[in-house]
């Protein structure tokens, strides 16, 4: 899916990265816990988050992700958008809440980040085990 489609599905505003809307993304992850993103995300894609500090952008950079969607209409401080722009990260902003944002993208066919984690959540075992099976 192209980032432009992500923006369209989420009725999102593009805060920076207009020139990169043609980039393809293959997965998405919704989290406010950056440590969990660092632990579990395997396929680099879109991060949806309600957290709006600079560490969200750094986490993306560490994970080679190139697009963040700030949900619930949260407006990041200008410095964060500038930092994202300097580092080639696309920043989108949607008024939709996290749950609906994820649901819409999932329904539109954007893949899951880590099968193992989802399976672990589904059968109620410790989510922490997910990444250790490999």
């Amino acid at each position: 899916m192209k980032i432009s489609q992500v923006a369209e599905i989420l009725k999102a505003r593009v805060l920076t990265g207009e020139d990169k809307l043609d980039y393809e993304v293959h997965s998405a992850c919704g989290s406010d816990m950056m440590s969990d993103v660092l632990a579990y995300v395997k396929d680099q894609g879109v991060l949806l988050s309600g957290l709006i500090n600079v560490q969200v952008i750094r986490t993306l950079l560490m994970m080679d992700m190139n697009c963040v969607v700030f949900v619930r209409g949260k407006t990041p401080p200008a410095g964060i958008v500038d930092f994202a722009e300097e580092n080639g990260v696309v920043v989108l902003q949607t008024d939709l809440p996290m749950y609906e944002s994820c649901g819409r993208l999932y329904a539109a066919g954007l893949g899951r980040s880590t099968e193992a984690v989802c399976d672990d959540y589904a059968d109620g075992t410790e989510s922490a085990d997910g990444a250790d099976h490999e």
Binding site: D32, N53, R58, M62
Partner: protein
């Protein structure tokens, strides 16, 4: 290349907003050196978690990166409070980070486990009241 390349970074403990700067810089360096992307990502994540820990718990410290032909070693050294119980700290979900750090997206008790997960070897040398030094080792595969 028998001589190790060495890069040093001061990890500024005064501001949470600065945590991760050394990791971002290191990532750029490793890219320029042509290190494999998967290795770069592992190093970035582990070092980033380490930096965050240093800022949260130890008022910053020193980050040193040593690169030879077959090994990359990251040494994170602080003079913070030390880790009281390393075994406990290695458990996923165990955290002593204050609540305000959780609101910033960290402090979920994933720092040390993530560092272990994203390194080939991790060595922790810590003493309560003295400080902590963590070495992260990466063995580069020959093509």
């Amino acid at each position: 290349m028998s001589e190790a390349l060495h890069y040093h970074f001061d990890v500024d403990g005064a501001s949470f907003a600065n945590a991760g700067r050394a990791s971002v810089e290191t990532k750029k360096l490793l890219r320029q050196l042509g290190v494999a992307p998967e290795v770069i990502r592992s190093i970035s994540v582990a070092m980033y978690e380490g930096e965050i820990n240093m800022v949260i718990h130890a008022h910053g410290g020193d980050a040193d990166v040593y690169i030879t032909e077959d090994t990359i070693i990251i040494i994170l050294k602080d003079v913070g409070p030390g880790i009281r119980n390393v075994e406990e700290a290695m458990k996923e979900g165990f955290s002593t980070a204050p609540e305000n750090i959780r609101a910033l997206g960290f402090g979920a008790g994933m720092g040390l486990p993530n560092m272990k997960r994203y390194s080939d070897e991790m060595h922790i040398d810590t003493k309560v009241g003295v400080g902590t030094t963590i070495e992260l080792w990466y063995h580069l595969k020959k093509n």
